[in-house]
Symmetry: C2
């Protein structure tokens, strides 16, 4: 008997009929001989509706109270789901994050899980019940206040609970079939990836692939917990996220590149004419760090000997741009840089693949593909298993398609070349 943890997002439980359909799927898993723990998000637009209510009452609601408000969303969906399961003749018990033992720090709105003590969930499993747990929420260790985990929180709840319960698999249900080699809306020939490593998945999540959140993959990696990303609208196998996808009894050959990710949510700021003295760059990034801005890529030009000045460019979430520009303006007199340039019409295109470790030609092939597609590269950043470039936003689609093709990821090629006709 396996212990299966399943997570259903808001679109899977958007209304009563969706909830009944999900209930049938859960009961089918139970009937197949598994113990089942389900993590559920709030129904459809509930969270937005609650945020709207909060806004009507207060322009800047306290985090503690906003968390109290938002967590009512999962309370509704989980109770309804438990009812729907009971209606099918199976025992289900719903539990809040607090009841499920999801212990967090006290950072309201983006709390981090610091412990999971799932005594009540284990008890429910031992009694043969299906446990339904509210995603996205926990209780703070210090203050015993209700907290929420922020973006991607329900996925993180699922993985954390699965790890604490020593589950065999954590199934993340979504509205697509799994993780693809690129966004199918941009690359119609994109392929579903059958298996991918934690490291690659983390890079993809960090580079704009939205299906799994970075924190959830980090958590799964730490506990070596297999994640199965799959569609709640079919019973097809989805994408397995595991530690070593190419040695665990698969006949697949490792592709050089697993996927092409893109991200249009960043902007670029250039600090022009920074005096080329020790410590000036440090002052700039210390200022940005104090403003709690996450910097992504950084490029510093070689100093022009004639002027003794250099330019520093960096990318950051577009949403943080205003704060960043204001902070930098304040230190302009002290640093003595000349001006600030701002560009939010950029996009990031990233190649991710553990295979590139052993294939030195990847960068050359990538850049050649972009050049052939007429896309200019503005910035470059690399890790051991990733190459990212910043291009103008209008060039993102062409860049993604060109890279996808250049690395033989297009559908017909994949079947023939990379996966050796395994047929998955």
């Amino acid at each position: 008997m396996a212990l299966v943890v399943q997570k259903y997002g808001g679109s899977s439980v958007a209304d009563a009929s969706c909830i009944k359909r999900v209930a049938q799927r859960i009961v089918a898993t139970k009937k197949a001989g598994n113990d089942v723990v389900v993590i559920v998000s709030a129904m459809g637009d509930t969270t937005d509706e609650l945020l709207d209510l909060a806004e009507q009452v207060s322009p800047l609601p306290p985090g503690r109270e906003l968390d109290m408000l938002l967590t009512s969303g999962e309370r509704i969906s989980m109770a309804l789901l438990a009812m729907a399961i009971a209606n099918l003749g199976h025992e289900a018990r719903s539990f809040t994050g607090s009841q499920a033992g999801v212990i967090t720090d006290s950072t309201h709105g983006k709390a981090r899980i610091i412990d999971v003590t799932p005594g009540r969930i284990q008890e429910a499993i031992d009694q043969g019940h299906i446990a339904i747990v509210a995603g996205f929420q926990g209780v703070s260790q210090d203050t015993k206040d209700i907290t929420t985990l922020g973006r991607g929180g329900s996925d993180t709840t699922a993985v954390a609970l699965a790890a604490a319960l020593n589950a065999d698999v954590c199934e993340i249900y979504t509205d697509v079939d799994g993780i693809f080699t690129a966004d199918p809306r941009i690359v119609p020939a994109a392929q579903q990836i059958p298996r991918i490593s934690y490291d690659e998945m983390m890079e993809m999540a960090a580079c704009g692939a939205k299906i799994l959140h970075l924190r959830c993959v980090e958590y799964a990696r730490r506990f070596n917990l297999p994640i199965h990303v799959r569609s709640s609208f079919s019973t097809k196998e989805g994408t397995w996220v595991v530690s070593d996808p190419y040695t665990e009894g698969t006949e697949m050959e490792q592709p050089i590149i697993s996927g092409v990710a893109h991200d249009r949510s960043e902007a670029k700021i250039t600090v022009v004419g920074v005096p080329d003295k020790v410590g000036e760059a440090a002052t700039i990034f210390k200022t940005l760090a104090e403003a709690e801005i996450n910097i992504d890529m950084i490029v510093q030009n070689v100093s022009a000997a004639a002027t003794g000045r250099t330019d520093i460019s960096f990318t950051l979430p577009t949403a943080d741009s205003q704060t960043a520009l204001t902070s930098l303006k304040k230190i302009q007199p002290r640093i003595g840089f000349e001006s600030l340039l701002f560009d939010d019409q950029i996009g990031k295109v990233s190649l991710i693949g553990a295979g590139m470790r052993s294939h030195p030609g990847v960068t050359a092939t990538f850049f050649a593909a972009l050049a052939d597609a007429g896309v200019n590269i503005e910035m470059i950043s690399t890790s051991e298993i990733r190459i990212s470039v910043i291009v103008e936003q209008d060039g993102v689609d062409a860049a993604v398609a060109a890279a996808h093709r250049a690395f033989d990821l297009d559908a017909d090629q994949v079947e023939a070349v990379v996966y050796g006709g395994s047929g998955r």
Copy 2:
């Protein structure tokens, strides 16, 4: 410095602007130098909407899950109220029933409070915060599951918490000015009652006065906690419910009758031709008790010597009629009664007044008034401070108006005669 517990019902927090108005009232109470604890119900129709959702998912939802679902309603209203207060520059903290230490038994849907351990509320008060507590909900002592208190639950939460905190007063905010001598929709000359005893208020609640629920008054009486029923739309004094309303520094003379209550929610069943043998009545009422039906009034005719048979009539909530009739049909062969009569076109009219203890003529005056109004009495029941009669439903309004007039409760008379021109 006084500790004031305030309870606001669903209509007082129906939308964002209502919530902001209530927040201002709460802050005004705090600014006047009081510590404030607020109990709040779910917004407007939230509970009905949640019940509707449950119905869409399951025809017979498990009580545990229904309670989990419904308690999200107060979670929303209390968080929004805390935000609105914060917006006015005061610190507020919202607490679920469980966090507030409302410990109940495990009877989902109508749990009884068995203990209140308001450590976190006391702590919030001690820190100068305004505590906002979810009404209607608690946590079961045995299973640690979320429970709801059933009808009138938020009032009960307010009184129980006020008692546990040793509050100076529990203010129950509603959409009318207080308790009236009769329903003003039936008797336009009805007067607001300035002060009333727990005993009288309990009789009024039991006889159909809907403003305070019986359990809440029982609880207040046990802890001798003053309740102040008042309007959330004005700052006028409302009705004080206290142990002895006429000696606590008031100049008011005790009226003979405090009020006239009525109730149209009961039906009458008559068991015709019950063999006049020992134990037959007991069997009938044991059967009804086992079906969990609350009987109100009972009348047994004198046995007709010729037939050796008698008729037994009783009243019960109309909603329970079908269950009662079915249960009785089942025992008909065993008891051998002749038939069952059912009448849901009845109404109960009750006179309540501690003063009737020392005024023996009350019953005669009451019955004469009903006779003059042409209303026939079908059944009679009395307590030390109450007389109730069952009349045909069409006669209820006339009976209430006649009784109100007969005991000098009409507005102009009250000012002149009973309250001696105290002007309240």
